[in-house]
Amino acid sequence: MEYSLYLIPLFPLVGFLINGLFIGKLNKKFVSFIACGAVGLSFFYSAHLFFELLSLPAEARAIEEILFVWIPSGQFNVNIGFLLDPLSIIMVMVVTGVSFLIHIYSIGYMHDDPGFSRYFTYLNLFVFSMLILVLANNYLLMFVGWEGVGLCSYLLIGFWFEKKSASDAGKKAFIVNRIGDFGFLLGLFIIFWQVGSLDFATVFEKAPAMFAVGGTLITAATLLLFLGATGKSAQIPLFVWLPDAMEGPTPVSALIHAATMVTAGVYMIARSNVLYMMAPTTLAVVAIVGMATAFFAGTIALAQNDIKRVLAYSTVSQLGYMFVACGVAAFGAGIFHLMTHSFFKALLFLGSGSVIHAMAGQQDMRYMGGLKKHLPATYWTFMVGTLAIAGIPLFSGFFSKDEILWKAFSSQYGSTWLWVFGVAAAAMTAFYMFRLVYLTFYGEGRMDSHAKEHLHESPKVMTIPLMLLAVLSIVGGYVGIPHVLGGINYFENFLEPVLHAGQNLPVATHVLTSGSYSTGTELLLMASSVILVLLSIILAWYLYRKNTDLSGKLRTSMSGLHKLLLGKYFVDELYGAVIIRPIVNGSLFLWKIVDVFLIDGLINGLAVVIGDISTGLRTVQTGRLRTYATIFLAGVVVLLLFVLLR
């Protein structure tokens, strides 16, 4: 049966081409209609495919369609081909669905921007690239999408490029991502070198025979791929670009830097689960890096004052959770959290966008407050998002986060420490999110009177996507209710065919048997994390609602720690001193001394010498016929002389 998978990325591509080729010539209504229509069409088509896929038996849920051979070169053959299986359909649904809502929201948010059509052009290009990334049936095509989303991220972070901080942030994101991409490419080279193919199907089929479990090569390959993932998904050590990426328009932060693009690393690791299962060392690294990032970013978020920065660090922290899930071989849980996170984080970002919209561009929470009565729709939806991310039971974040925490504790690769730090990070998440809510929506308004008059609820075109996302943030978790709560964990069963191969490796068979713990333990752990979250919410309430003086006192009494957190542990400064400064100095040396003095001097000197010689030789060319004839005759005489004397 023909599924025409190529149609999914084709719609945004067409939208991109129409808007991009006729940029500045179309009116705003038409531009937004084309852009939203394109993404909407691909969403509805992928929903159709989703139900088609559901109607198939579980084992047959992998549709591969090859459009044409892209690079035929001896043994190296790459196709343009698409693969639709449970993993990619979930990603496609999330990407197109969230993108669709954010596209609609953007119509309202970007309405007065002069770069309106440019914005939608980039956005469509982004959706196209992201769909290529998740639908690709081989690593190289995936890499094309990977680079494409990186490009769009750069373009959209620097969307207001006349602002220096925005263009700098764009460059920073691009360069940091390049470091990760470098690792990604090297990983691909190792895979191709060993397996001789980059097709997912071939690689995963042959890899168990080609690599030794836990061997150096597979560990190196997976670590390099993970380096790519840390770049794209903003993990330690390459997370520094994501907070700066908030310079872009808020819907972009929601779409690219929260819901979709940054999850590409998690998707890639889940896709390569066979390889990762064969490299236990890498899994441990992934888990540790993920947990460190989750914890570390959470602490930074505690002290930030910029509403979007809090959300940015929260994103980094949540991505860390997903990597923890991958690191303990619970790829399904990682993807589950990816999905719910993209719902509630998109909701939170769009909500903050609505707040910023109402505050006329003000992003500092110290100048907000009391917005609850002015922005009721935004407040309620934002509250839903906050509850979801904090992990309050019955909201989606609870199910996915708890799944990860449980796996981190119980899995063969997990440990108690991972669980402890995970719960601590979860408590911090609840704390800083409620701090944000209290500072923004409660209390007295701290804005000036002019801004106060300007306050207004956002238009319907912005609030309706918020409400839809709020609904998704509530119900999104019910597809994966764990067994212990009486569910059947439908989500992971759905993903099972994709993760099947990795879980059936000999090395992994005992991982699944995590039943050595009783259901009582699981319930206990779940309850303790919920209680901790509730306690930290109460703490936030106490510090920022009840006794606001105390928070100020606390800040002064621990000013060192506060400065450290506010300064984001000075990681940027550290990178600046350790990496960037030497490179700049080295480059200066190469420029001033090696290039200008040595190379240019050599070349110019050569030119001068040749010029002088030529000026001397030029006098021989008199331009006179007789002189030439004379020299000719003299030449003949000399030649004959040579013949005679020989």
Partner: protein
């Protein structure tokens, strides 16, 4: 026998003298006249070498047609009395004469060294009585060398077309430099 030698030397003197006078003249008309003297002397030498047909051609075509063409051009351009202003040449006249003389002696040495020290004898050669007459040369031309002979006609045609094209007065010769 002696007569042959005498004729040779007289003709040789005329040929060389005409050539030397030809290159030394300022007046091109006189120069052409000396060239004709030289050519006639050479024609006599051709006949002495029993090349009757070619000797006749030399008189008719060279002296009769080509040099008349030269004269015609000289008259056409009215070059008779043109005097060239003296310009100190880079290489002195002595050097140039020296070069030509050295060149001559080199060729003489080569002739002495190669041709007559080889297998070919110096003894008088007996040839057929009609050697170089019109009929045997014509037979060669129209049998063995028919193709090259026909090719010369194309060469001449090309030369005529080229000459006409170049000498044609151009319509727009304003300031165009050569």
């Amino acid at each position: 026998m002696l007569l042959d030698t005498v004729i040779f030397y007289i003709c040789a003197i005329f040929a060389v003298g005409g050539a030397v006078m030809m290159i030394l003249q300022r007046n091109p008309v006189a120069s052409v006249m000396f060239m004709i003297v030289s050519l006639i002397a050479q024609a006599v030498l051709y006949v002495q070498l029993s090349a009757l047909f070619v000797g006749a051609l030399l008189i008719i075509v060279y002296a009769g047609a080509i040099l008349v063409l030269f004269l015609f051009v000289i008259m056409l351009l009215n070059l008779r009395g043109e005097r060239f202003e003296e310009e100190r040449p880079k290489l002195g006249l002595t050097t140039k004469y020296g070069l030509a003389i050295i060149f001559f002696f080199e060729i003489v040495i080569i002739i002495k060294q190669t041709v007559f020290t080889g297998s070919i004898s110096q003894s008088p050669i007996t040839v057929a009585s009609d050697f170089g007459n019109v009929k045997p040369v014509a037979e060669l031309l129209f049998t063995k060398y028919l193709f090259p002979f026909e090719l010369t006609s194309i060469l001449l045609l090309v030369a005529i077309v080229g000459a006409v094209l170049m000498a044609k007065k151009e319509n727009n010769d304003k300031g165009e430099q050569i």
